[in-house]
């Protein structure tokens, strides 16, 4: 029996060593320091959850040989990662924060990439009667929600969507607080799930909603089309002066690629269930 045990121990060790060597081969790719091998793209959960990046990124990787590591976080966190130099390039959607980021010297330059729009989601019963009274007026819709008051689920995570939501509350001249105002502190998908369970209202980007429509049985769009609900995405290469590990060339290659006419066409052609999700709008040189 003791022999059996030593055999097991030996087998375990051989397995680990074998696994380590096997594991090292792919792992090596993510270890090459400072080379052109890869870039870290900090982006919003909406671009990942919508499925867009999975469709367009293979094209970039094939063209440049640069692997893209997508870290999907809220826009606020993505900006913080840029400021600390933890990411090489940002694809985000909070225009005011982006301009501030450039003004503070953290980014090289901001370029338009694409836009879609936000929608106000609500329960089918629509207790705040938004569908009939404020179907295309976000501020008015928010006023109606606060007046009932009806449950509103806020992401409260400094993301682009959260920034927009707070701007709408400000436009409506309301400081949301109370039992009806739920703060999840999580991404769009999770917040939509909570909204669906709580039969509340929330602000969502159209891409994530379209991707999750099937699981959102209790919700529907109650307000859309307001100019205030536009949702522009920008790309920013992080300033290489922040630290010496930023892959500036790779980041620039990514910026050049995403605003190129070919990629813009690719973005425009991406659709879910026949609905295009993003409208490309990069200024062509």
């Amino acid at each position: 029996m003791k022999k059996k045990l030593s055999v097991l121990v030996i087998v375990l060790f051989v397995c680990t060593i074998a696994l380590s060597t096997l594991g090292c081969t792919p792992a090596k790719k993510d270890l090459e320091p400072g080379s052109n091998g890869e870039i870290i793209l900090a982006t919003t959960t909406s671009t990942q959850d919508s499925g867009l990046l999975e469709v367009i990124l293979p094209d970039f990787e094939a063209q440049t040989g640069i692997a893209v590591k997508v870290v999907a976080v809220g826009t606020g966190k993505a900006m913080e990662m840029g400021k600390a130099g933890e990411a090489d390039v940002l694809l985000v959607h909070a225009r005011s924060q982006e301009d501030q980021f450039i003004a503070d010297g953290y980014g090289v330059e901001r370029f338009d990439v694409m836009y879609n729009d936000f929608v106000v989601m609500g329960p089918k019963e629509d207790p705040a009667k938004i569908k009939t009274t404020a179907a295309a007026d976000a501020a008015k819709a928010f006023t109606a929600i606060a007046a009932v008051p009806s449950t509103f689920v806020s992401r409260d995570d400094k993301s682009g969507t959260n920034t927009k939501e707070l701007a709408i509350w400000k436009a409506a001249n309301i400081t949301p607080a109370g039992d009806w105002y739920i703060k999840t502190g999580t991404g769009m998908g999770e917040t939509l799930t909570v909204t669906n369970e709580k039969l509340g209202y929330t602000l969502a980007d159209r891409a994530t909603y379209a991707n999750m429509k099937d699981t959102m049985a209790n919700l529907e769009i109650v307000c859309e089309g307001d100019e205030m609900l536009s949702n522009p995405y920008g790309v920013i290469a992080v300033s290489p002066t922040i630290n010496d590990q930023i892959n500036a060339e790779g980041a620039q290659a990514f910026v050049d690629w995403i605003i190129s006419p070919e990629t813009q066409e690719l973005i425009g052609s991406y659709e879910i269930n026949g609905d295009p999700l993003f409208t490309p709008n990069a200024a062509q040189k």
């Binding site: 097991l8 680990t16 320091p33 959850d49 997508v70 999907a72 999580t186 998908g189 959102m216």
Partner: protein, 235 residues
């Protein structure tokens, strides 16, 4: 209620479709958690035995710290590891953030106290006798250590299984230091968390079933050896 049933149906379809992405995620999870358990054992077993069999001042304090670290929240370990590995952190130049190596480091920190604590506990209670018996029989220092490992092998196995279980099932640490990057650092638990966020319950259930199956297999293999040994003693 339908979606729960549909989830399970979809889950089995997904498991038997042998999707290469799913397979890659499963293997990465196993690789990361298995490696960290081995590293955790290399540190935890010798130190656990040494601390356990020796009596010294402050031993009670050491045990209290050890038991506290056994229940340290993975997110906190992830957070601290991330602060050290980030580009702006002290080990930034190694570019380890968002790699499988970072996940192994974090999980090793997580499982080492678990393995060390269990070994320490048993070495304290039954190790002393082994040492005395060994000395009576005229064993050298080195022989005593071998004797201890052999006597405690059942406990060491249980420590490994517990450590591995803690590593493969945690999501907090690997989510922070790994970032759930597709093709690089996406493991079973972060995959489940992400799909749950996106409301895709069926894939979450599928991965959950795979995770439980793997835990069951690992435990069966290891317990087979331990219980096999015990049967031998009964004969």
């Amino acid at each position: 209620m339908d979606y729960i049933l549909n989830g399970f149906v979809e889950a089995f379809r997904l498991i038997f479709s042998f999707d290469p992405e799913i397979i890659q995620i499963v293997f990465l999870s196993l690789f990361v958690s298995f490696s960290s358990t081995i590293y955790g054992a290399l540190i935890g077993v010798p130190f656990g035995i040494l601390l356990g069999i020796n009596n010294f001042k402050g031993k009670k304090m050491v045990s209290r710290f050890l038991y506290t670290f056994m229940s340290f929240p993975p997110v906190i370990i992830g957070l601290f590891t991330a602060l050290f590995l980030a580009r702006s952190g002290p080990f930034g130049q190694f570019q380890l953030m968002y790699t499988s190596t970072a996940m192994i480091i974090a999980q090793t920190i997580l499982v080492t106290p678990v393995i060390m604590g269990i070994v320490f506990n048993h070495a304290s209670t039954s190790g002393y006798e082994v040492v005395q018996t060994g000395k009576t029989l005229g064993a050298q220092r080195w022989n005593i250590l071998i004797l201890l490992v052999l006597e405690l092998k059942g406990v060491i196995m249980i420590a490994l299984v517990t450590g591995f279980g803690r590593a493969i099932s945690e999501v907090g640490a690997v989510m922070i230091v790994g970032g759930n990057i597709r093709g690089f650092t996406r493991v079973m638990t972060t995959f489940i968390a992400m799909n749950n966020n996106m409301g895709q319950y069926s894939v979450s259930i599928a991965m959950g079933l795979i995770l439980m199956t793997i835990s069951f297999i690992t435990n069966s293999i290891l317990y087979h050896f331990i219980i096999g040994d015990q049967n031998e003693y009964r004969d």
